[in-house]
Chain length 435, copies 2
Amino acid sequence: VSARAAIVVTGTEVLQGRVSDRNGPWLSEQLSEFGVDVAAITVVGDRPEDMRAALEAAAGLGVALIVTSGGLGPTADDLTAAVVGEFAGRAMVLDSALEARIGAITAAARRRWAQISPETIAAADRKQATIPEGATILEPVGTAPGLVVPPHEGRSGPTVVVLPGPPRELQPMWAAAIATAAFAAAVPDRVELEQRMLRLYGIPESEIATTLRAAVDGGVALDAIEVTTCMRRGEIEIVSRFEPAQAGVYDAFEAVVRAHHAAELFSDDGSSVDAQVAALLVDSGRSVAVAESCTGGLVAARLTDRPGASAYVLGGVVAYTNAAKDAIVGVPADLLAAHGAVSSEVALALADGARGRFGSDVGVGVTGIAGPDGGSPEKPVGLVWLAASDSERQLIVRADLPGRRADVRDRATTVAMHLLRRLLLGEGEARAGGA
Amino acid sequence: VSARAAIVVTGTEVLQGRVSDRNGPWLSEQLSEFGVDVAAITVVGDRPEDMRAALEAAAGLGVALIVTSGGLGPTADDLTAAVVGEFAGRAMVLDSALEARIGAITAAARRRWAQISPETIAAADRKQATIPEGATILEPVGTAPGLVVPPHEGRSGPTVVVLPGPPRELQPMWAAAIATAAFAAAVPDRVELEQRMLRLYGIPESEIATTLRAAVDGGVALDAIEVTTCMRRGEIEIVSRFEPAQAGVYDAFEAVVRAHHAAELFSDDGSSVDAQVAALLVDSGRSVAVAESCTGGLVAARLTDRPGASAYVLGGVVAYTNAAKDAIVGVPADLLAAHGAVSSEVALALADGARGRFGSDVGVGVTGIAGPDGGSPEKPVGLVWLAASDSERQLIVRADLPGRRADVRDRATTVAMHLLRRLLLGEGEARAGGA
């Protein structure tokens, strides 16, 4: 069996539900890729006795490794290092060399924030440089160092990896942590599993249960691999994890999914629709522009989310009013009057208008009713019309999306991405006369 | 002191980081409102021994209540009820009346999924109707009943509230749970706390530590209230929770924060900058439009996130290229050539151009380098120029934002919201000649 780990996240704002925890899920995926199973993720506040109890509970699960996030800041209520030191049976000592390195980092902050007293900064530096004796230091990404803390010589128990709370500090530091000798010593017996992800779009999750049964009935030894399915942002993800020796079972399973869902299976390597759209645009040298209404900028934001997007995204218009649809995108006022803003005709006119205004090869148009107000019996909240077009072809789709305003807006961006993908793959009806 | 609770979430897909947990944060907020402090949120998979260990660990924290979510489904690996029964020292018994009520619900599903055998459904009904003896039943919202399970007579320990995993089942069932006698008996000594939130923008988190010390030095009995601070999306949140009798201490603390950070304290009632901008626009009857480059639609998306945004957002342009800035927003080509796209001059021209094109009262312009490519020594990644303007006044600000592409884009939207707020409050320099 593989080594197991536990994750302990500290943060009152996470515990009280005001901020959602990004570190627990991220660390869990990293550990899993690394061949270490996660037994539990625990969130506690900044009470040292609760933190200590969480470490003891994790140790009680028999894990080889505990990863903590948060509680490394400069203030006195950031207690993780001291609690972990006590847990590991190691005294807290000031590391002067580390104090100097942190001082060099905070000197920059000192210039920017002139109102902070040098004494405050020096106290903060000293606090952050006081670490369990014998711990391996992970160099600061922000100002806080991370730590790898094995149990004191002669004691048993898990090794604790101590990481800062901000994800942009934690994530780079993770790479440093797994490269340390102390980390490797804690999990010598890990089994690296293969992981594959299939993504499908356009079917309900219950369909997948039927397909899993069909695979078993067809003789695929699904017990030998671990399959989990989930619905996320309107897509189904099927994740399989297996020991390398079971690759044949996985291949047989994938073949069954492919046979049952040829039209809906859009990714067999885990790639997202976003990555596929980007690759299709880059490879073909085509450019895209957007004109969107109910999604309010989310489609443009999603297209520009990826590094290098400026190579193929020319821009977008958020046309929240009929006047803007007309004046800025060029949707004719009489078309708006005849069909209403939420209509297939206007969706196509937005896609074509985006192409025309920005001079892009491909256009995307989105118009709908995100709610909670603005719905009617004929055009209820959640109704969205979307179009993608180039000079030769066009695709138009109607979506009836469930949920609240944020759900409708988010889900509509997924529909838009898939529509764009299909157009870029050459689907779509030929345009009457060309445009 | 107030009663404490723990939350135990089961779900392999949450534990493995593929789905983010919505139930833990939601339950935490509910418990907090109810006057019960949450000590820990733990996520475990569907191994019964891990679930049992999580319950024992929660009991070890001395909580009066444990709330579980998930693991109530019809299949054999849904084990929560049995594990909780064992934890509470209660035998599992089939409740025939409950079995009949569940049968009436699944009869409808039987019509929809004709391929499932009646035997399979009957076994599922029986499984879901087998509950710890003496537990209080919470009627199913889907097909799974919830449970309130006190420790067996003569045993001590927390009462366990067992809820289903899907949020749309869990949330209505929570209301039923807190109305039961078994729930009230578990937390007789809850103290409803007051909660206040201050928000500040424009100072580092370490400054707050100094202010907390100043408050204590000035005689404020901060020990009597619970204060937590966190940095989120470039803002600092200070959350204070206290018994009603300590309101005077809180007022004194708030006065100290106000005296130290008059310029940075933008919210003393927890309202977000988004809510304030929306209220300022609605109350003044003014409208807004955006022209943004590096944020790629995120500023428009944030402004349109709120219900009713169409009353004051006219739209936006994502001008990702110089050609689009010129042709669609009307930023003069010679201005772009003279100062470069990332400059104070172009930020202002974007704000003014957005106003002009959409006919809005107020305009916002954003131009910068989100990275990872495109930076230079003079204009590094993270440099963003932002402007807000109306016909009489203008505000321009330079931001040097840390982090990766997503961080820079997100943080820039926060800077834009605060700039817009300041303009709407009447700040800004008078325009030369008017525009």
